[in-house]
């Protein structure tokens, strides 16, 4: 069950956030659902931050792993030559 506090604060905030984004008609042939759209807008906002951090972390860690494997790659190439 959702508490009355949630009802008073959570939903109006969601609605304001949703209405704050400018919208235009871009309908699809399936109904995306109003509640689903609002949730998606919120999730996308939060997840984008997580996703960006994750992407940078992967880039950073692959940079280090490349550096450390550089010498082995070079020796492999030499062997091929």
């Amino acid at each position: 069950m959702i508490s009355p506090v949630m009802n008073k604060i959570f939903y109006p905030v969601m609605l304001i956030l949703f209405l704050a984004v400018s919208y235009d008609r871009a309908y699809g042939y399936i109904d995306p659902g109003s509640g689903s759209l609002i949730l998606q807008a919120l999730l996308a906002g939060v997840l984008a931050v997580v996703f960006t951090v994750k992407t940078w972390w992967h880039k950073l860690s692959s940079l280090f792993s490349k550096k450390s494997s550089c010498s082995t790659d070079a020796s492999k190439n030499n062997l091929k030559d």
Partner: protein
């Protein structure tokens, strides 16, 4: 003039529909679908997806066939024919999960090419053996900066909800999709999951909060139908990545099902089992089937005899645990000729959807060149009280040829079925079996299975 029939499962999308031209499926693209189809082909997305084996390949027809209204049609494309049509409610957990992953991979690649999916239903995916394949060429549209991912709700209802129910509660709950063709309502999924709906961020956000949001904004009127500039591209990528992660983490429950251990407790000796395999192959040699149905195929022990010879085989079983195990095995072997599906033969998959025509019944997807009905007849006749004449009638609808094992009443497995019932089946004899089946089939051969008292019969359609 070729005979053109509309496909009863394709009528919702104004951008196109499927027809059957002289028995082969073709997809008609309407004038409304021109923009999306041209973008799919022009953006390089089609080549990228087809090249990776994610999207069904197609060719364009040179001209619109006679008998179609020429002015509303942009193009007609002919997709590569699939060996067998199956539906999500016939899949096991891992099949539905792999179909979901394929859908997300298609979406990820679409975004890279400036496109997006406009719907994301498991009906857009088919299996060719172990391999899921996206089949709806018209599910794509150009991505517009700021637009939401329209199928988010549909994805949660048709993929996430049944996967959570199967993974967290019971594998058998996948068959709920037979009733809820448009997906399991999230409020129902939340109620069924109970406390498990709030254990973990994924069910908490995509099911629990989602269902409350749906309820809260159910009456929101007018202009919430869509908006631009609302969600960044990075946000969509992050959402898809999150759904991908959720699904990858889901595992089938460690659930013991009645028939999974069947081969460990079978009444056969090893030599009888080998004799049965040899017998089946010997019978099949004569028929040279292109399509085999193995009804009650358990984990696919006999189906693989055919699939490893590249004969397309559908292995049906009424125990979802067996289907799961059969699929995992086929996937490990990368077997493109074996499709495991759930089927309760005493209540075969019906035709469902609009006018009961949208999704076909199992019997209307046949008949198969050869049906294997091995060690099943006693379960149906003695366990479910179905008279031999009715079993013969059903099989004559499903099979052009039949390899059937007769299990006498004296067999220990048959005796187990009679322990609590008593012998109320005086007509269950091999003689009666032969008489009843001779009405629907011609008996070609009989091979006794050494050391078991059972017999293998080969029959052809009368």
């Amino acid at each position: 003039m070729q005979k053109i029939n509309p496909n009863p499962s394709s009528f919702r999308d104004p951008e196109g529909y499927v027809v059957s031209i002289a028995g082969s499926p073709a997809r008609v693209i309407t004038a409304a679908g021109k923009r999306s189809y041209d973008a799919l082909m022009g953006s390089g997305l089609y080549d990228a997806l087809a090249g990776r084996g994610l999207l069904v390949e197609h060719r364009e027809m040179e001209s619109i066939p006679d008998g179609m209204s020429q002015n509303q049609i942009y193009k007609v494309i002919v997709p590569k024919k699939l060996p067998f049509v199956s539906y999500p409610y016939e899949w096991c957990f891992s099949q539905l999960r792999d179909a979901a992953i394929t859908t997300l991979e298609v979406q990820e690649m679409a975004l890279k090419h400036g496109m997006t999916l406009k719907d994301a239903s498991p009906f857009n995916v088919m299996f060719v053996g172990y391999k899921p394949l996206f089949i709806d060429t018209l599910s794509f549209e150009p991505y517009e900066e700021g637009a939401p991912w329209k199928p988010y709700r549909q994805f949660c209802e048709t993929f996430l909800a049944p996967l959570f129910l199967m993974s967290k509660l019971d594998l058998r709950l996948g068959s709920a999709l037979k009733h809820f063709l448009d997906g399991i309502p999230l409020d129902l999924c939340r109620k069924l999951l109970g406390k498990k709906a709030i254990m973990g961020l994924a069910p908490l956000t995509h099911i629990w909060v989602h269902s409350f949001m749906q309820k809260r904004y159910a009456d929101t009127s007018s202009e919430t139908g869509g908006y631009k500039k609302g969600i960044s591209r990075k946000g969509i990528e992050a959402l898809i990545d999150n759904l991908h992660g959720c699904i990858n983490r889901l595992k089938p429950p460690r659930q013991k099902t009645p028939w999974r251990e069947y081969y460990a407790h079978t009444s056969y000796s090893e030599s009888s089992f080998l004799a049965k395999k040899e017998g089946v192959l010997k019978l099949a040699e004569r028929i040279k089937p292109k399509m085999v149905w193995d009804i009650g195929g358990n984990t696919g022990e006999f189906s693989t005899l055919f699939s490893e010879r590249k004969i397309y085989t559908v292995c049906f079983d009424g125990d979802i645990g067996c289907v799961e195990e059969c699929y995992i095995g086929a996937k490990k072997r990368r077997d493109k000729s074996l499709l495991p599906l759930f089927l309760d033969i005493t209540n075969p998959t019906p035709a469902v959807g609009w006018q009961n025509e949208e999704r076909e019944s199992i019997l209307s997807r046949g008949p198969a060149d050869l049906v294997l009905f091995l060690a099943v007849i006693h379960h149906i006749a003695l366990g479910h009280n179905v008279p031999l004449s009715m079993i013969a009638k059903m099989l004559s609808q499903a099979a052009k040829n039949l390899a059937i094992e007769f299990v006498p009443k004296e067999d220990p497995q048959a005796q187990r079925l009679l322990i609590n019932k008593g012998d109320i089946f005086p007509d269950y004899t091999e003689e009666n079996f032969r008489r009843e089946f001779s009405k629907a089939f011609r008996i070609e051969d009989r091979i006794p299975i050494e050391g078991s008292g059972r017999s293998l019969y080969l029959m052809s359609g009368a």
